[in-house]
């Protein structure tokens, strides 16, 4: 009897001990294929480390508010984070993220395979490393090859402009071709996402970079209202008013996808990952096999991406770093890439197996090499709203281009000032 009691006590103690020993890492993840790819690979991590990982999967729109409330709490419910580049200024500025360089040095983690544009976007903030690039969604031009090759359209274009109909390489050429397609091809020249806020801000930013402009210089002096910014807005307004689909002023990414998928538009300026969606014969039979990806006309598009980070108030920082090391290891990144992940490492983008499966990654690499980032600071999300509002006012004709770009620049300056970046 006494022996049985001892045995039960030992089993209980062992059980409690095991329960205490098993660390469970929790993270808030966006409900996108990338998350489910990683979920499939998690047993490998658990087997190697004994650490369990649980994802709380939600829609993008719910993420920011949920994260902020946890980051403000004494202890975060999330042990590691995936951070969109739009928050990559806000989170470190608020002191919510753990600097990662000490972890990198201690573990010998190699940062050299990462593309510099990605480390710049979702790695460093004010010279300190807070994130490890996780995923890229840079923007470029997706266009219909069948319309570019159409002999009637080619002849008409040559007759009207005295040059060949081809993939545009400058912003002026792009808008000109887009308007031409609307007038002659029976489709919208561009499927545009003109809804105020993130959709039109992201789209317009490509025009700014494509026109050779930028939002600010290295010292945070606003340059948006310079000649390039004004030209960008003028061309954006022309394209949305003369060449875009009906309803473009309130359209978002989903709307433009539907437009393009149904063969109702010649082009779209969008995230590169849209290409495999459109090129899928089951999803988009009307355009599959007829779409291609190109660098944003003008050579520079918007860079976008996510990074891994560890919250300052995480209870399991060391274990969280182990997870990041594992998920960003060469072996796992390649596995993820072969399953459809969008890599941030050059070795994955140039890997022969990956390229054999996804030949357009060669183009993605070019897009990433030329990609530029929008200002990343504490009020990036508000910047999207302020600039987006002015772009939308210009697009609806409620403000002229000069006034709108000046007001956008003024709003941007106000935000830089609020963030303490300028005096």
């Amino acid at each position: 009897m006494k022996g049985t009691r001892w045995f039960l006590a030992a089993v209980l103690a062992l059980g409690l001990g095991l329960a205490q020993a098993q660390v469970v890492l929790r993270a808030l993840m966006e409900d996108v294929p990338e998350t489910h790819i990683i979920e499939k690979l998690l047993p490998d991590f658990e087997k190697k480390t004994g650490i369990k990982v649980e994802f709380e999967v939600v829609q993008y729109g719910a993420m920011h508010d949920k994260l902020v409330s946890q980051l403000l709490a004494p202890e975060s419910a999330y042990d590691f984070l995936e951070v969109d580049f739009l928050w990559a200024g806000e989170f470190p500025a608020a002191g919510w993220l753990e600097p990662l360089m000490p972890y990198v040095k201690k573990s010998g983690f190699d940062l050299s395979p990462y593309l510099p544009s990605m480390l710049d976007l979702v790695g460093y903030y004010n010279g300190k490393l807070y994130m490890i690039p996780m995923y890229n969604y840079a923007m470029g031009l997706i266009y219909r090859t069948d319309l570019l090759a159409d002999p009637t359209l080619k002849a008409k274009y040559r007759e009207r402009f005295g040059k060949e109909l081809a993939v545009p390489t400058t912003l002026e050429d792009y808008v000109q071709t887009s308007v031409f397609m609307k007038q002659n091809a029976g489709v919208a020249g561009a499927a545009m996402q003109g809804q105020r806020g993130d959709p039109n801000f992201m789209e317009f930013s490509n025009y700014v970079f494509g026109a050779g402009g930028d939002f600010a210089d290295k010292n945070w002096h606003v340059t948006l209202d310079g000649p390039a910014g004004e030209k960008a807005l003028r061309l954006y307004v022309k394209n949305i008013r003369e060449a875009a689909q009906k309803g473009a002023l309130n359209a978002n990414l989903d709307d433009t996808y539907r437009e393009m998928c149904q063969g109702r538009a010649w082009s779209m300026i969008t995230y590169w990952w849209m290409l495999p969606q459109l090129d899928d014969a089951q999803k988009c039979p009307k355009v599959a096999g007829k779409v291609k990806l190109a660098v944003m006309p003008g050579g520079h598009g918007v860079n976008g991406g996510w990074g891994w980070a560890i919250p300052r108030n995480s209870a399991h920082k060391e274990e969280a770093w182990k997870f990041i090391q594992w998920v960003e290891s060469k072996e796992i990144v390649k596995k993820r890439a072969l399953m459809g992940h969008a890599p941030t490492r050059r070795d994955a983008l140039t890997d022969p197996d990956v390229l054999a499966k996804y030949p357009y990654y060669a183009q993605v690499l070019k897009i990433l090499e030329g990609a530029k980032k929008v200002p990343i600071f504490a009020y990036t999300a508000e910047m999207e709203d302020v600039v987006g509002r002015e772009v939308s006012l210009a697009a609806t004709g409620q403000k002229d281009v000069k006034t709108a770009i000046r007001d956008a620049a003024k709003g941007l300056y106000g935000l830089f000032k609020k963030a303490g970046l300028v005096k």
């Binding site: 920011h64 508010d65 902020v68 403000l72 806000e90 500025a93 608020a94 003109g194 809804q195 105020r196 806020g197 689909q245 009906k246 309803g247 473009a248 002023l249 309130n250 359209a251 709307d255 539907r258 437009e259 109702r264 504490a378 009020y379 999300a381 508000e382 999207e384 709203d385 987006g388 509002r389 939308s392 006012l393 697009a395 609806t396 409620q398 403000k399």
Partner: protein
């Protein structure tokens, strides 16, 4: 002694009310005078009325205020008119009324986000059924949400579609509870249906209409979900209603102090309207 026993019974309820109503209100008031942001979550330094004054200097806030007033006027007015018409129709003796009750209740049962998504597709400028039907009739459908001339009105109509159920059911309940004698007396005196409705039914229904007005105005001034799903305040600033403006101030601008001040202005506006309704509708009863 009895008073003490009574107070002890009321105490838990009062305590809960203080915790869930008074505390958040007072805390928000304190925030509105502070420089509290998500980046610097401390009340100090106090900024006094700065957030309130700043709001009245912001042309986009004033635009939101104007749009919200117009929106509330449109939605409350339309839902009251249509709801009253439906309630009067349902009050008449007719077979199979249960079916109509069920149909009328459906919009009320759908979450506003669901309503927004349904109407987004119905009014889609290229793929929507309304666009298709108008096209078949030889008309070109307007760009309902993409044209700043129509966006606010379309939003108000979508909202009205949902709110009419509630208004109709409350007014129907009011009609059923009216005393029969005045109506019968009017009938005996030879009053026509419009005369009976305007001079007997409507005055008797006034308290119920007053309650509906107050509830609907409060709900409409706080409209957020439809704007979030359908237009995000655009195109331009054509649908930038106050509640959505406040949300952006808090969660995009990270400025909880400023957002609390705006929320208090919305609260004051709502209170002023409620007091106005009380005076106009209930004072003479």
């Amino acid at each position: 002694m009895r008073a003490r026993v009574g107070a002890s019974f009321a105490a838990p309820g009062v305590l809960v009310l203080l915790l869930v109503v008074a505390f958040p209100l007072l805390y928000a008031l304190a925030l509105s005078f502070s420089s509290y942001t998500f980046l610097k979550p401390t009340l100090a330094p106090w900024v006094g009325l700065a957030h309130y004054l700043e709001a009245f200097r912001d042309p986009y806030f004033l635009n939101s205020l104007r749009l919200t007033a117009l929106y509330a006027f449109l939605t409350v007015g339309l839902s009251l008119l249509i709801g009253l018409a439906i309630a009067v129709l349902l009050f008449q003796p007719a077979p199979g009324k249960e079916f109509f009750y069920a149909v009328i209740s459906v919009p009320m049962l759908i979450a506003p986000v669901g309503v927004a998504l349904i109407w987004k597709m119905i009014l889609h400028p290229e793929l929507g059924i309304v666009t298709y039907l108008l096209g078949r009739l030889g008309f070109s459908a307007p760009d309902f949400f993409g044209d700043p001339r129509y966006a606010l009105f379309t939003l108000a109509l979508v909202d009205t579609w949902q709110q009419v159920s509630f208004v109709a059911l409350v007014l129907l309940a009011g009609l059923r509870s009216l005393p029969k004698e005045p109506l019968e007396a009017a009938l005996v005196d030879g009053a026509s249906f419009p005369q009976r409705f305007l001079h007997v039914t409507l005055p008797l229904l006034r308290p119920v209409i007053g309650v509906v007005l107050i509830l609907q105005t409060i709900a409409e001034l706080r409209t957020y979900d439809l704007v979030y799903v359908l237009t995000r305040g655009g195109p331009g600033a054509a649908t930038d209603l106050l509640a959505y403006f406040i949300y952006r101030k808090a969660f995009l601008g990270l400025d909880l102090g400023g957002a609390s001040a705006l929320a208090y202005l919305l609260l004051l506006l709502t209170l002023a309207l409620v007091v106005f309704y009380y005076r106009r509708v209930f004072a003479e009863i």
